[in-house]
């Protein structure tokens, strides 16, 4: 992927020869430790789509595009073909810029029981499979 070219939006991440932490400009830890594999990310003001992308890297724009339909961090990482930790750093950038919102998963600490209505909803959903 040509990171020096801001114009190319359609590069295939499968072709990326760029090392992952080059994309994050050397950062290896997300600034936000609260993103999980199933934190759901959605693009704010999706009507504007990827307008006003100055200063964003191609991967940032891909996230904005993908999250017009809310997607979990794991899905974003898979879509970018990047390790989860790298995706989290890029998502953190977009949160800091106010471009995406993150919805944390239900907090289920060890030993904590899930809500019975949630379980009933999951059960009903499985029966429709």
């Amino acid at each position: 992927m040509n990171h020096w070219s801001e114009e190319r939006l359609d590069d295939d991440p499968e072709d990326s020869l760029v090392r992952p932490y080059t994309i994050t400009r050397g950062r290896t830890l997300p600034e936000r430790g609260d993103l999980t594999l199933i934190t759901v990310v959605s693009t704010i003001d999706a009507e504007f789509g990827t307008a006003n992308v100055r200063g964003l890297q191609p991967e940032h724009r891909m996230i904005l595009e993908q999250c017009r339909i809310p997607a979990a961090v794991a899905e974003i990482a898979a879509g970018l073909n990047l390790p989860v930790a790298v995706a989290k750093i890029l998502i953190g950038d977009l949160i800091a810029l106010g471009r995406v919102a993150a919805r944390p998963p239900l907090a289920l600490a060890a030993g904590q029981k899930p809500d019975i209505r949630l379980l009933q909803a999951v059960r009903d959903g499985l029966l429709r499979l």
Binding site: P83, R103, L106, K113, L119, L129
Partner: protein
């Protein structure tokens, strides 16, 4: 909070409001059918992503015991079941290298529960996953993959060999069948719901 609205069933339209996400882990030894099960019940082709895990390990070299960091790449296959516009279930097939996924905190924390898959020809491959979930108190059920309808062990034999608590359900079937995967997940949800009752109902 309503979870069970009817718009947006599997493959249906999703609203732009972010849904609540929950996850279920699909574990078991290498080659027992984790990705097969994820693929059979997921509304999308299983996706794959990876993570770098770093763990301290103690190695021996010529200056004696040295603690060093070992980084390994662990892959994850996952799928999704959209329950409605407000709720999505993610199914995470844990990577084959069990020694490593146990250390993936983000993966193992906060799961509703787990499915441990087993192959009757090498049940011991699933011991590690069972020990792990038992020690964490994570509710789980066991699914035995009967490849091509072959069932060479009874449920009682499997239960005995795995030294399973009698309350842990064992389901047997061909994991390529969506209905088999669905029934395994339903059994897990039933375990979770039973735990909500002051008096066990099953």
């Amino acid at each position: 909070m309503g979870y069970s609205d009817s718009d947006g069933g599997p493959g249906g339209p999703r609203g732009l409001a972010a849904p609540t996400a929950v996850k279920i882990l699909i574990a078991g030894g290498f080659g027992v059918g984790k990705t097969t099960m994820v693929g059979a019940v997921s509304e999308v082709e299983p996706l794959r992503t990876e993570e770098y895990l770093t763990a301290a390990s103690v190695g021996v070299d010529d200056i004696g015991l040295v603690e060093e960091k070992v980084t390994t790449t662990v892959a994850l296959d996952f799928g999704r079941i959209t329950i409605g516009s407000a709720l999505v279930v993610y199914l995470f097939g844990t990577p084959g290298q069990e020694r490593f996924w146990f250390m993936w905190d983000d993966l193992v924390h906060g799961a509703l529960g787990a499915v441990v898959l087993a192959d009757t020809r090498r049940l011991e491959a699933s011991f590690g996953s069972i020990d792990f979930f038992e020690s964490r108190g994570t509710p789980f059920v066991v699914g035995v993959n009967s490849f091509d309808g072959r069932q060479d062990r009874t449920e009682a034999e499997v239960r005995d060999a795995l030294d399973l608590d009698p309350r842990v359900p064992i389901l047997m079937g061909d994991l390529r069948e969506r209905a088999v995967g669905r029934d395994i997940l339903l059994a897990l949800v039933d375990v979770l719901m039973a735990e909500q009752q002051p008096v066990p109902t099953r």
